[in-house]
């Protein structure tokens, strides 16, 4: 697992994955065998690791080292072309991966957060072709051909965006866990509507929860970035 992850990071550092040939997969361990089952693959990798270091498994008589390989359906994969913060990636992704898993676990962009993993909180919000989307509820394969922007892509030439600066100046993050999502929704709002009223800000950002309940300050920050007057609270 660790080796795979390292390989992936190398892939990112090359700025783009090579165009996938049929035998290319995100997991090099699979060696291009498209018929290899997920269970079989995991079992194989697992046995190696168990030999390497894992001792006993509690008081159980069983251990995975001695487990009989189980047949399980292959994990379908799809080759996608996806642009993230201006960098194009051509990769095979497992069909079950959410966009958030792809971003956080496979290309190392951990700025977007998982708060609920079920579309309730908005901490995972990223922009898909400029539209704010819950990346926990968007499959990576659906992002094929799309342009993704995450919080890591808001700076340009090492300078924070005016909205990021306003978030800093107006204390918009308290614990900061929802902040990336708030920033992405507000970024999209200001593109669509550069001078929103405070009502329009609240309405646009209703899908982003903040349990610190710093809503007043976040609205003030967005209004400041837009240069529009208004109060932070709902009328």
């Amino acid at each position: 697992m660790g080796k795979k992850r390292t390989d992936l990071k190398d892939g990112v550092s090359r700025r783009a994955f090579p165009i996938p040939r049929s035998e290319d997969t995100l997991y090099e361990d699979e060696g291009g065998d498209r018929d290899l089952t997920r269970r079989g693959f995991l079992g194989g990798a697992g046995a190696a690791l168990v030999v390497a270091g894992a001792p006993k498994l509690g008081s159980s008589e069983h251990s995975s080292a001695g487990a009989v390989e189980q047949e399980a359906p292959a994990v379908p994969q799809t080759a996608i072309r996806i642009t993230v913060n201006g960098t194009e990636h051509q990769v095979n992704v497992e069909d079950r991966w959410t966009l958030n898993e792809f971003l956080r676990d496979h290309i190392g962009l951990t700025g977007s957060k998982i708060g609920c993993n079920r579309g309730e909180c908005g901490a995972c919000t990223v922009l898909v072709d400029g539209e704010p989307m819950f990346s926990c509820s968007t499959l990576a394969v659906w992002a094929d051909g799309r342009d993704i922007q995450t919080v890591e892509g808001l700076e340009s030439d090492g300078t924070v965006s005016p909205l990021q600066q306003a978030f800093m100046d107006y204390n918009a993050p308290q614990c900061g866990f929802c902040t990336s999502g708030q920033l992405m929704t507000a970024t999209a709002l200001l593109v669509d509507n550069p001078r929103p009223t405070s009502d329009e800000v609240r309405s646009a950002m209703v899908g982003n929860l903040c349990r610190c309940s710093n809503y007043n300050a976040i609205v003030e920050a967005v209004l400041a970035a837009a240069g529009t007057p208004g109060s932070g609270g709902a009328p």
């Binding site: 697992g46 159980s60 079920r118 309730e120 614990c175 866990f177």
Partner: protein, 727 residues
């Protein structure tokens, strides 16, 4: 401090300072707005596994047997642990209510809580855990664990739980044991309640209830454990790395120095995280078994049901009042639903804000088969203040007094017996009345607006402890005149790291930009009291002042260090207020609009006046009050955890179910600080973080009464309840 009442009333005027008291962006603001801030789940260790926890689907059941063989055989599974493989006692989760830092109390408790318990006593209690090569395998493996449960009768309601014949959750019954292992309520009597009630011209009795409120911080809990020989490093979202280390070391059978806790950023505190949690232990055990690092991630539902929230209460109140409106006696019989383990006190606060000397309080912390209750921001307060201040508000109308006048007549004030480091409660109330324009917003006849949209106003006031106590800090200076501050804070949201740097810069007389802060790692930082009880500013901040004073002395004696030399100072002060009460004060005034056809309530004005001593960093301080007040509104109008009475299953776990506030529900909170310096803490700074949440439910409930003319006695005050009251 002079001991005269006049001096207590005033405190000292605050004089302007160089860094303290000016708006300063957080020193880590850049990390927070660029995705660079590293939360527990953002840490990646080579070869790490992912873990999931199997949880009880039953509110009360004995595990007859548990078969993990199929899970262990699943390729990719590296470790499976259950109550059969690991019988670790889990921390203070047993019965150390209010005694969570007291090892002696933990050692003697008879209600031991294990990492995995048998029987299981609530839906969501951990039963087993799996570490596997990825999340998918871990989740699949949970499905393969076969547990044979013998279901047991269960009880959800704290009053029913005390009735004869109620299903016993512990052999001793359902009244929680006190620290002497006795099933006794928490009782406290002051003055002469019987004489006080006898002296009353009228005695009022009423019953109020409050709902369970999940802390609901945005970051679902996780723990990443990595062993190096006999030392374990645990990355975990904690409010107190020092206490977290000590708890985990004790439960794992290690010495403190064998445990390293790292918490750089964490996604919201809100209480009861100043210590360990069972998932730290599970991650550590799985990592030991698997021989590689393990990241245990709680799902949102795991977190909602498997952690804690504010205890729900039933409060029967009795208040005696003399003809002139003076309260002569107060009686409280309270029931706090604690779930099956007494994680915290179950206290009910609020009566202490009144001058009435004759008080009888009996509080029953009761076990139920609901999820565990624990501390949430001002643990005993919003629920207690809601009840007592609704009751007093109601009495004001019944004795034909303006509620503000009734409050001013009965608030606690300094006396020869009751001494404060400073006192400003009456000033907070009067300032709030003026800023809010009470005279024009309050309706002398409740519910008198013609409707269907009606308006009205209510208020509430509070006095909340702001302790002083021990904590540590280290400060170092090098030849480049970089000052490095080592403090064991984790910065759960209020900006503690920045506050500590501000204090150091002020005391050292250097610009903030010359101060670096090392935080969030027990291998690098000295003891810190932890960010609970709003203590970091007052206690760790005071240690920073003392360490800086010592460093200045060293510099004066020896000159600035040269070359590779450094000067280092440390301090662990343990100040005392010599019997005086150190408290913060506040008053909230709320105007609401109620649609009597739909039952919908909207907040149209919210004024919060607070005295928290000197304010060190104004903008974050204001946002602490604003955010806390909004959380209080959520408790007042929305939040609950409903259970199905037949199955014992929770029905509203999660943000949608609990109906947490969104932008559309969040009114502007107008905050005013009255600043003063009582001579304690760093430059007279007192508690801020918890104070703002205390008054929302009471003030909103009182405003709703003034608006619709019906007293709402149950939290949350939902549309359905309003329509029922109006029907």
């Amino acid at each position: 401090m002079s001991s005269t009442r006049a001096a207590q009333q005033a405190g000292q005027q605050v004089a302007a300072m160089d860094t303290v008291g000016h708006d300063v962006p957080r020193i880590d603001a850049y990390e927070r707005v660029t995705g660079r801030a590293t939360y527990t789940r953002d840490v990646r260790l080579p070869g790490m596994l992912y873990a999931r926890v199997l949880r009880s689907p039953h509110p009360h059941a004995r595990i007859r047997s548990i078969d993990v063989s199929r899970a262990e055989a699943l390729p990719g599974v590296r470790a499976v642990v259950t109550h059969e493989t690991h019988q670790l006692i889990y921390s203070s989760g047993s019965i150390a209510g209010g005694q969570q830092y007291n090892d002696a109390a933990k050692d003697m408790t008879e209600h031991v809580r294990y990492m995995f318990d048998n029987p299981v006593r609530f839906v969501g209690q951990p039963v087993a855990a799996v570490a596997a090569v990825d999340r998918y395998v871990a989740e699949d493996a949970l499905q393969l664990i076969e547990v044979d449960y013998q279901e047991l009768p269960f009880v959800l309601d704290p009053e029913e739980a005390l009735e004869p014949g109620a299903p016993p959750i512990w052999p001793e019954g359902n009244l929680a044991l006190d620290r002497d292992n006795q099933p006794r309520p928490s009782s406290r009597t002051s003055g002469d309640p019987a004489a006080g009630f006898a002296a009353a011209d009228q005695v009022f009795e009423d019953r109020y209830t409050t709902a369970f409120v999940q802390d609901g911080q945005m970051e679902p809990r996780s723990a990443l454990a990595q062993w190096d020989g006999d030392k374990v490093t645990i990355y975990t979202p904690t409010q107190g790395i020092s206490n977290c280390r000590h708890d985990n070391a004790r439960d794992l059978g290690l010495d403190d120095h064998q445990v390293q806790i790292i918490c750089k950023y964490m996604g919201g505190g809100f209480g009861d995280k100043n210590g360990s949690y069972y998932f730290d232990l599970i991650a550590a055990v799985l990592a030991k078994e698997a021989g590689v690092p393990v990241l245990l991630e709680l799902t949102r539902k795991d977190d909602w049901l498997g952690t804690h929230g504010r205890w729900h209460t039933v409060q029967n109140l009795r208040v005696g009042v003399a003809q002139d409106g003076t309260v002569t006696a107060i009686g409280l019989e309270g029931y706090s639903g604690m779930g099956p383990y007494l994680r915290r006190s179950g206290g009910i606060a609020g009566i202490e804000a009144y001058a009435c000397p004759n008080v009888e309080r009996v509080i029953y912390p009761v076990h139920t088969n609901r999820m565990v209750s624990g501390n949430f921001r001002a643990p005993s307060d919003p629920q207690g203040y809601f009840a007592i201040q609704s009751m007093m508000d109601d009495i004001a109308y019944k004795v034909d007094m303006d509620p503000v006048d009734f409050a001013l007549k009965n608030v606690i004030r300094p006396t020869d017996e009751v001494r404060f480091t400073n006192y400003s409660l009456d000033e907070c109330i009067m300032r709030g009345r003026e800023l809010f324009d009470w005279e024009s917003r309050w309706r002398p006849v409740p519910g008198s607006d013609p409707g269907p949209i009606k308006r009205g106003a209510g208020m509430a006031f509070m006095a909340f402890r702001s302790g002083v106590g021990p904590s540590s800090a280290i400060v170092r200076v090098d030849a480049d005149e970089r000052y490095t501050l080592f403090v064991g804070v984790t910065d759960i949201g209020p900006g503690a790291k920045t506050t500590m740097a501000i204090i150091a810069a002020e005391e050292l007389g250097v610009p903030l930009s010359q101060v670096d802060v090392v935080w969030g790692d027990t291998d690098l930082c000295p003891y810190s009291v932890g960010e609970s009880g709003s203590r970091t500013t007052t206690m760790t901040g005071y240690a920073v002042v003392q360490a800086a004073i010592d460093l200045k002395r060293q510099i004066a004696e020896r000159g600035m260090p040269r070359g590779v030399d450094v000067l280092i100072a440390s301090a662990t002060p343990n100040p005392s207020t010599e019997g005086q009460r150190r408290m913060v004060f506040g008053a909230h005034f709320v105007e609401v609009e109620a649609d009597v056809q739909l039952g919908h309530v909207r907040i149209t004005k919210y004024v919060a006046v607070h005295e928290s001593g000197r304010i060190l960093n104004p903008r974050p301080a204001k946002d602490q009050i604003r955010g806390a007040a909004l959380q209080g509104l959520g408790q007042a109008l929305h939040e609950d955890l409903l259970y199905d009475a037949r199955s014992g299953h929770p029905l509203t776990a999660g943000y949608y179910g609990a109906r947490h506030l969104t932008y559309l529900d969040a009114p502007e909170i107008e905050v005013t600080f009255i600043e003063t310096d009582d001579g304690y803490g760093p430059y007279g700074a007192k508690t801020v973080g918890e104070a703002g949440i205390i008054l929302g439910p009471a003030a909103v409930a009182n405003a709703i009464f003034n608006t619709i003319g019906h007293r709402m006695k149950e939290l949350p005050i939902t549309r359905a309840r309003i329509l029922e009251a109006l029907a």
